[in-house]
Symmetry: C2
Subunit: 321 residues, 2 copies
């Protein structure tokens, strides 16, 4: 799994469908059911990529946004953290522009995470590359809709969001000022997004509305559908690195930096260790910059066993309350 | 609301209690109920600080961890972002140590966020100040327990966690290396936590186990109960700043930097704007460093109306699916 837009798998909870004869009784019984209620017997954890059919018979919308959204979209903490990341991104790129590095921040085609090598800069014009969704844009309109509906991610709904929601986004805090400063320094801003090439004009409009544009498809905006790599971004990065000396990368998912983090052989804990160790650990905040996104994507995966190691389990010695 | 430990309010969802006669029928009807199910009629959003009584009659544990925990504890993305923040914290403090600043990073007692002034450094020994929970420590044991149980935050459970969970924590990625480098440079590491002074030895043990110690209560560890300010940290910061030239602050909540972010007159959107604008916006990553925490605390609050502004609402033009 590489860098995923909301158009890719989301780790959302799936509502269930009920036989019609049960629905009436269920409706009554579920009155007041809180969002933490589920079947009394321990249920196996749902496969995270199982899609429901389009028409569940009983779906009850949640009473409030999930904590991930409260934090990312509502908190001063997430705003501060995003500004912190964008200021660091800006300062790093401005510093690199002054010294004109030999190497870019785009991994070479035959590089590995254990032995990274980078595409050389040569005399190419200076640029930075950023993801769009939840890197420079907050998809407030879509996320509000999805959270309110209680429904899982739906590709068709997202497609309509891309087409019609350009004026319902906001910039990620810190993005506007940082990108303005980089443009003023003569650095080209390039976007590498998994939004769809077939709807490029709408994404150009969203970026402009958020104040981080302009972006032109094929010049400073590269999208899913530009090649046959789907949601994998290495091929687009390679194209961008042929034209530009890429000083820094910014994204909310590891696939915004390298497809190598999405190898299907990696378990969730292995992927976390890979990002945290070795040569690549030194890259974070030092050419590669993360923006936070606990709402969706490749960073929002896992069962209890994937997320919590066995040797850190704790039970309350006082007994359950 | 200032910097909150898990011992403070959490924005968790509350399970509901059912009359006994209903419980059997409900158990049957809830078979297979997914975690997004609630009452069929739109329910008013629950008051976020309402506590249930200690013994709900029907609580069904969730099938998997919430997205906030999957991201913070399981993802390579959160690990990378934490390393990015700690590397920046380290580099900033090392740089400040070389130049010996006139002013510390602790706001003066009469400062405002609009007109910040800082406690002068004088000739005081150099230090940095960090929060503990989800700043240098990941409370994996406690969070696993709480997530698995389906129960909301409970002070007594947390108290037992503080006492018995010292070897079920892990360090926040990046913390161990950063603090080691700062100690090697002669900078004192001071912790300012809302964990309880009455159980200080257990917190000293947790910090040591995580590899970010040592910490000594009253010298390099300041806690809730040290004074009568409760969970507000300004008074403890002032004490620390009397003894040390505080070069940088790190925390996961705005109260780790100033109690001014917790003014009860601030709405959730106002608090976010306050953190993102004006003089304080320049502080993030520049003396004040955020670590991510979408799991609990003052950054995890709000109704739909608090989190999603009206002018960014979007409805699906294609109709509900």
């Amino acid at each position: 799994m590489t860098g995923m837009s909301p158009a890719e798998c989301r780790g959302a909870v799936q509502p269930r469908r009920w036989p019609p004869a049960f629905a009436g009784l269920l409706g009554l019984a579920l009155a007041g059911c809180a969002t933490t209620m589920a079947a009394p017997q321990p249920s196996p954890q749902p496969a995270p990529y199982v899609r429901t059919s389009p028409e569940p018979l009983v779906v009850i919308p949640p009473a409030g946004p999930p904590n991930s959204m409260r934090w990312l979209y509502g908190s001063g903490e997430a705003a501060a953290l995003s500004i912190q990341a964008f200021n660091a991104f800006r300062d790093y790129a401005l510093g690199a522009a002054r010294t004109r590095p030999r190497d870019s921040m785009v991994l070479a085609a035959d590089a590995t995470l254990a032995a990274p090598r980078y595409v050389p800069c040569g005399n190419k014009p200076l640029a930075v590359v950023l993801d769009a969704d939840e890197t420079v844009l907050l998809n407030l309109g879509y996320e509000y809709h999805e959270a309110r509906s209680g429904m899982p991610y739906n590709q068709q709904v997202w497609n309509r969001w891309e087409r019609t929601g350009a004026d319902r986004v906001s910039p990620v805090p810190g993005a506007v000022d940082a990108l303005r400063a980089l443009r003023q320094a003569g650095i080209t801003i390039v976007f590498n997004t998994n939004r769809q090439a077939s709807q490029a004009a709408a994404t150009e409009a969203a970026l402009a509305f958020a104040g981080v544009g302009p972006a032109r498809h094929g010049e400073t905006l590269f999208m899913s559908g530009d090649d046959d790599s789907g949601s994998r971004k290495d091929a687009r990065r390679a194209r961008i690195a042929e034209r530009y000396c890429v000083l820094a990368l910014a994204g909310d998912q590891l696939g915004d930096f390298s497809d190598l983090f999405g190898a299907s052989t990696l378990s969730i804990p292995e992927r976390r260790r890979l990002a945290a160790a070795g040569a690549m650990a030194q890259r974070w905040g030092n050419g590669w910059f993360l923006l936070p996104n606990p709402v969706y994507g490749s960073g929002v995966r896992g069962s209890f066993d994937d997320v919590f190691p066995q040797d850190r389990r704790w039970t309350d010695p006082g007994g359950e309350e």
